[in-house]
Symmetry: C2
Subunit: 154 residues, 2 copies
DNA sequence: GCTATTTTTGACATTGCTTTTCATTTTCAA
DNA sequence: TTGAAAATGAAAAGCAATGTCAAAAATAGC
């Protein structure tokens, strides 16, 4: 396996496991490596597919449990999209973007805003939160759907 | 039924139905009245409970379908929380708040930020979106959990 | 390096919410 | 009033997430 891995996060996993008296298995390590190398959010299924290629003996359950573990350790965040699928994301992705979502046609546009991120940090500070991640979704009509309505279910 | 109802939204429902060649039933009207009177997000179940008190002959399915209809009409937004329950919210609630969520203990704090809302409008404008609603969630450790870890699943 | 103890794992079952189905009823336009 | 199209209720199906439990693997203590 290549070594372009986020070692700091792998260490955090180890530390968390140690603090909780949990064990550090090879499989968990494989999952962690693949997960924290990723930058974008991944469903359990998607990560499972990647994991299988490295070690086919790792089951879906294990991937699922590992992700929930990372989440409890504060190293991952889960979110559920409209399609009903839960996706996980490392807490410090290299690049974070937010979403504009059209409620008519379902189109999704990604955007970034430094200003909004700064305001979020300010708010977190005010409430004494240690900010790990965030989720911002703007819902509305896209340019097309404002005029001639388009239906997702025609 | 009292008349402190958001008539503009009821009219929008009618217009949408007309545009789509759909029919306007009394039951749908009852559901709409109760829904748009609400200010906060409601699960299907919660709205169904309210509806039953007015007209016990309205089924869960009908409430479900009405909410999805409002959504397609751009009058409601649905979101799924971590507990797996989908909640719906009128597109223009009188008062909108966002959430700070502790990833360890699950605590949720509500907050409001005029500045962030303004920035959101700016972004929507840049992408030619007609903004209806938004969802902003900040994830992190709350004040307590930053120090002594607290587990949701001990 | 062993062994005992505890955690992890895999496969499958179960759960719980959401969505669809279909026969029946209601709406609406002509 | 009547017929075609849509809405409805009840129940079933769908589906992702989560729980179960026996077997396997990982540490700690020797």
């Amino acid at each position: 396996m290549k070594s372009n891995v986020k070692n700091s996060e792998l260490k955090s996993v180890r530390r968390y496991l140690y603090e909780k008296g949990l064990k550090h298995s090879l499989k968990r390590h494989t999952i962690a490596e693949l997960f924290f190398r990723e930058d974008k959010h991944l469903s359990i299924e998607e990560l499972y597919d990647k994991v299988k290629k490295i070690d086919p003996d790792i089951s879906f359950s294990t991937v699922y449990r590992a992700l929930r573990l990372f989440e409890r350790a504060g190293l991952a965040v889960s979110r559920r999209f409209i399609d009903g699928i839960t996706k996980f994301e490392p807490v410090h992705p290299k690049e974070h973007h937010d979403h504009l979502i059209c409620v008519r046609c379902g189109k999704i546009i990604e955007f970034k805003s430094k200003k909004i991120e700064d305001l979020q940090k300010e708010i977190a500070r005010a409430y004494k939160f240690e900010l790990l991640n965030h989720r911002l979704e703007l819902y509305g009509y896209c340019n097309k759907c404002r005029r001639g309505p388009v239906n997702r279910k025609p």
